[in-house]
């Protein structure tokens, strides 16, 4: 049993959320002018910076390059001041290289890497503040950074976590809930085709609960996806005015050139 009462009366969680409620999401695209793409994402108190360099020529030996598709390289790191206790995290430790591989796996499902033959795409993610669901925030931020870099994606891969508290599944797990000891399920979803790009389970769970928990996490992914889509749309709207000028200035051409939406 956890020391905290994680679900209070009327099903409110410790931070005042309902079981299916997400934390507040804040995003900013293009935060670093020198990177090809970058994004900042806040999910509640979890704050993440992601930067993308590339696609560029493969660095570190030609042997690593793939003649058919891009090599995606992820580097996850956690800043010393990110958690309540100051601690320098090993950059090349076992934990972070595992996270790197997981990020690569999830992003590979979304990036149309056959378009970037012989190239390398570097994704650097840094956790600025950690309050649970770190991996989810990292994956969401890297997707945003890839979009900012103009890299072709099949779909916006979004990630969300869920856990079981008092027989109830709760979505977007925060630090206290995460450390309560019950199993945490992390799902990365490609919402358009309802494909699961990534799934991870921490801890042990009764099989009867799995389906419920999975549904909960997938629903969370869909909701995050809708929020991210909206944010990208807003970013596009404010930064797209030059398109009217790069096109030849024949009046009315735009109307005609706009394809019919079925």
């Amino acid at each position: 049993m956890a020391a905290w009462e994680l679900l209070k009366d009327q099903n409110f969680r410790l931070d005042g959320r309902k079981p299916t409620e997400l934390r507040r999401i804040e995003t900013r695209l293009g935060v670093f002018p020198n990177a090809d793409g970058s994004a900042y994402l806040e999910q509640g108190n979890t704050k993440v910076l992601a930067t993308v360099y590339g696609p560029h020529e493969v660095k570190g030996g030609r042997g690593r390059s793939n003649p058919d598709k891009a090599v995606i390289n992820c580097q996850f790191s956690k800043s010393a001041f990110s958690s309540s206790e100051r601690k320098t995290h090993m950059k090349f430790g076992r934990n972070s290289s595992e996270t790197n591989q997981h990020l690569v796996q999830a992003l590979n499902a979304a990036v149309m890497s056959h378009l970037y033959a012989r190239c390398q795409i570097d994704v650097y993610v840094e956790i600025v503040q950690s309050d649970g669901s770190d991996f989810c925030a990292c994956l969401n931020a890297s997707t945003l950074a890839l979009i900012d870099a103009g890299i072709a994606l099949k779909d916006i891969v979004t990630c969300c976590s869920a856990t079981i508290v008092d027989e109830k599944s709760v979505v977007d797990v925060n630090y206290v809930e995460e450390s309560s000891g019950s199993a945490v399920l992390i799902v990365g979803l490609l919402p358009k085709d309802e494909q699961i790009a990534y799934m991870q389970m921490k801890g042990r769970l009764h099989a009867d609960h799995l389906e419920k928990l999975l549904d909960c996490a997938v629903e969370g992914c869909r909701n995050i996806n809708n929020i991210l889509k909206e944010r990208i749309g807003e970013h596009l709207k404010t930064h797209s005015s030059h398109f009217t000028l790069t096109r030849p200035a024949t009046p009315g051409r735009a109307e005609r050139s706009r394809p019919a939406i079925a």
Binding site: I147, D148, A149, K229, L236, R253, E255, S257
Partner: protein
Amino acid sequence: MSIDIRLSNEKLQHESTDFSAERPLHLVIPGDIITREAGYMRGHGTYMENDVLYASVAGCVEKVNKLICVKPLKSRYTGEVGDVVIGRIIEVGQKRWRVETHSKLDSVLHLSSVNLPGGELRKRSEEDERMMRNYLQEGDLISAEVQSVYADGSLSLHTRSLKYGKLGQGSLLQVPASLVRRRKNHFHNLPCGASVIIGNNGYIWICPTINEQSDKTGGFVTNYERVNSSTREVIARLMNCATALAENMVVIYDTTLLCAHEFSLKYEVKELIKPDIAKEIALLTKQKIHNNDY
């Protein structure tokens, strides 16, 4: 020493003029459906799945006859034959230089596609191969034209005209390649007292005025004459103007650059890096270009 402090709530509230009202843009994000109709051709930034055309990048849909493309806000440079680019030599190889041009893969400049002193018809000998580093070495900047695009998208460049070649004294600026408008001429001697080369790959080179005849040597004679401070100020001003335009997503070509320079004259050069002033100049330029419909 005085420190300039800006409070975010004192930011100048510019009327944001919505140019898209007259020419609505069709904006999409990855995974959006562009059209379900058959008979369209799949261009860059799109993909087809079950006869439905989806967008794969976030940007603006452009349609030419039956071809649908999505142009992203910014991306790496994708070269086209005839483009003027600015690049940096990163490796001297056998019979070729490798050049960084901000495209997906490094570009190559073959020894056979440069002008060596002595004219077009000169034979290239082994001697020249050994002398390659004397012409261009690692770190040198060059202006060149795209000669061909290989199957994997990497570029082959050439400098077989006296206007191309090694760049001497000046400033280099990098902007998103999507902001550079394709024009007939990318070399401009601006009346304000400087020359600019606006590379299609988003690299902009600003240097002291190049004389039409005497300076076009293909870059083999580098001019190390001292540049006087007034010229340097003009170069710095143009740099800041171009940065202001790029930060506020204004198309960059000779006219916008000149407009921005004109609007910037009421400020000191160093003031132009303040975000408020940069935004004001960019907006004024945008308005002027829009009104005159250049």
